[in-house]
Symmetry: C2
Subunit: 398 residues, 2 copies
């Protein structure tokens, strides 16, 4: 993680403008462009209700090649029927004309209010400037343009060596609300100059997403618009990747996507704390995951964390209702390294107070659960549930 | 529903006292006593983590006969191991000695903080007064004593005719938080003087619970302590119930349990509105239920309702992630009788505004969804998600 990296990747240009989709003057439309055709892979929402840009991009990425992606905030362009699909196609067409590339090489991503039609005229009017502004150093402003209820922009960077030369990997994401994994969970775009074929890229990408983005939950909701896209343009001109190179690239992917995932959880709508739920000793892989998810999605656990209260009874109740194999008498629970439950019982009031003190002093809470049923582990990232989640979501449209 | 009913049932006595388990002077310990042995049936939490009183009562009710139930608030007596079980047994023993009945005829129910040990000495000290105070008119104070974060006490009454004579049915409940069905979802006690055998009572009771208590969700949580108990003492001396009588009794059960279920949803922690989610046109029974539950448990839908915002995009997104068979283009959504979505698209901004106006003027919101996939229907009761839910649950122990 280079905090001071220039945030650029050879062969990629980016830009963002204000198209008047959100408040006046706010960046809300952005473009990422690969000067060379890029090998690309995407992961899309599993929600049965898919936004128009998801339907379009999911179809176009099947060829495994992409040149550009245009992203707008403010309008999800979901539940907009024929007109929505048409708006997405026209958006891509306008970009392809401006960049003089094949329309099929342009993807579209959107986020914002569901059900409202995209004001395509405003998008169309802004595209020329978006193209003129393209620059190798435009990624910071793209990260800003992606924000909706996010409180900070999310960017992560990695440099590695593979196939005898260095490569660069840059990731952007937006998150905040309507975040629960099941494939993609938000918008995220990754660009790299590594030379890699699709058959190598896809499993690495999918597996990195599985251990990072698919382990976040803010509110148990899965959006209609989620999309994670990676583009690899091969400008690094590395030799064919051997096993070690592949591992190095995978490390980079997991690093960048892991960092972005953490940022998304920490920046959950209204969140004051990032919460890591670790489950060990699950009877099956699925049990470990289900248990972690039940705790991470529990409104009662999350409000207790907001109240800095190590209320382990709510953790036990969430485990109990999750349906996983468990014996209450074997459960251990720790918070930030302080064991507060052993054999299903409170260790001591002193330990509870110790945990409460720790919760006051940090903005990262780790709930470590041992089920003692088997050898399987899992973890989820989430955040606390606060007044501001209510404020943000009660007032979102009104 | 007789608002002015005396709230008594022949052959049953009740009382409530302050045992110092909650704030000083607040009713927190109550007793229901049947002067005759009563046919009884119970439904208990499906949470794998079961409180000591649940374990005890679940075992004792197997005989189908009960004389008394003692209920405390303030302490859930859950996750308290051997000592907790012992405390529950001793509580029942003390009651049985005072009433001079078989200890096996006494059930125990508790609600409150998980993980803390029941201060049995305080319970023991209060039991003599509890017994002295027993009266046919004690049910109102029991309803009050059941309250934890409830904002009003919940009581419902029904009088009917069966087997040639009149019978009475009185129901009490507490709800508020940690409410999601899957069998029982809170504490509820029903007493009736009807003469009925266990084999007739059980299926009627279970089916009434299925369509009422098992259709409420406040926050998707299932408590460790949930218990619904019915006692029928036969004091009405009706003749053996024929088919018509059974239907009449079932109507009473559904009325009383339905009314209590509605009160629980309306009084969800911090709630300002009761929300009814009706799903029609499900491809299967399970789909209709899953869809209704996904919408009713969606934090985003619930915060939108708090904001009086007919944000149907969130309803569509919740339906989409629920995994049920659906075609976005066939979905219809109405709010309090105003159709705002047809064929998956917004009907008009005018209709949305009309729905928003209606939401401002009432404290009962009905979301009517038609999936147009088949003939199955279901409904769930819930409430909005508000600042006060956060306040109540962040501050609960601290």
């Amino acid at each position: 993680m280079k905090k001071d990296a220039k945030y650029s990747v050879p062969g990629f240009l980016a830009s963002a403008v204000s198209a008047g989709l959100k408040k006046k003057g706010v960046l809300d439309l952005s473009l990422i462009f690969s000067q060379k055709e890029a090998v690309a892979a995407g992961i899309f929402t599993t929600n049965n209700v898919k936004a128009a840009p998801v339907l379009l991009s999911q179809d176009r990425i099947k060829r495994g090649l992409v040149r550009a992606v245009i992203v707008n905030t403010g309008y999800a362009n979901a539940c907009t029927g024929e007109q929505g699909l048409n708006d997405a196609i026209q958006t891509a067409d306008t970009v392809s004309q401006g960049l003089q590339i094949d329309p099929e090489d342009v993807l579209v991503a959107s986020t914002g209010v569901i059900g409202a039609y995209l004001p395509f005229d405003r998008v169309k009017r802004a595209i020329p400037k978006l193209i003129t502004n393209l620059s190798p150093h435009g990624f910071r402003s793209v990260a800003e343009a992606l924000m909706t209820t996010d409180s900070f922009s999310k960017i992560s960077y990695f440099e590695g060596t593979a196939g005898g030369t260095s490569f660069h990997l840059l990731g952007l994401a937006k998150g905040a609300g309507m975040i629960m994994p099941n494939m993609a969970t938000m918008l995220s775009f990754l660009v790299t100059d590594i030379s890699i074929d699709y058959r190598t890229l896809w499993p690495l990408f999918r597996s990195a997403a599985e251990s990072t983005y698919n382990r976040i939950t803010v509110d148990g909701e899965t959006s209609t618009n989620d999309m994670v896209l990676i583009m690899a343009n091969g400008v690094a001109k590395n030799k064919r990747l051997n096993r070690k190179d592949t591992q190095q690239f995978k490390r980079g992917l997991t690093h960048v996507m892991g960092e972005l995932a953490y940022m998304i959880a920490r920046d959950g709508e209204g969140a004051t704390k990032a919460v890591i739920v670790e489950v060990r000793g699950g009877a099956t892989k699925n049990d470990a995951h289900t248990a972690a998810r039940a705790v991470a999605n529990s409104n009662l656990v999350k409000t207790a964390i907001f109240g800095r209260d190590p209320n382990w009874g709510r953790i036990m109740a969430a485990l109990g209702r999750s349906g996983v194999a468990m014996d209450e008498k074997k459960v251990q629970i720790g918070i930030n390294g302080t064991k507060i439950v052993d054999s299903g019982l409170m260790v001591s009031e002193k330990k509870e107070k110790e945990a409460a003190e720790k919760m006051k002093k940090t903005d990262q809470i780790t709930i470590a659960i041992h089920l003692n049923q088997g050898k399987y582990t899992d973890r989820m990232l989430t955040c606390d549930l606060t007044y501001d989640y209510i404020r943000i979501n009660a007032d979102y449209r009104t």
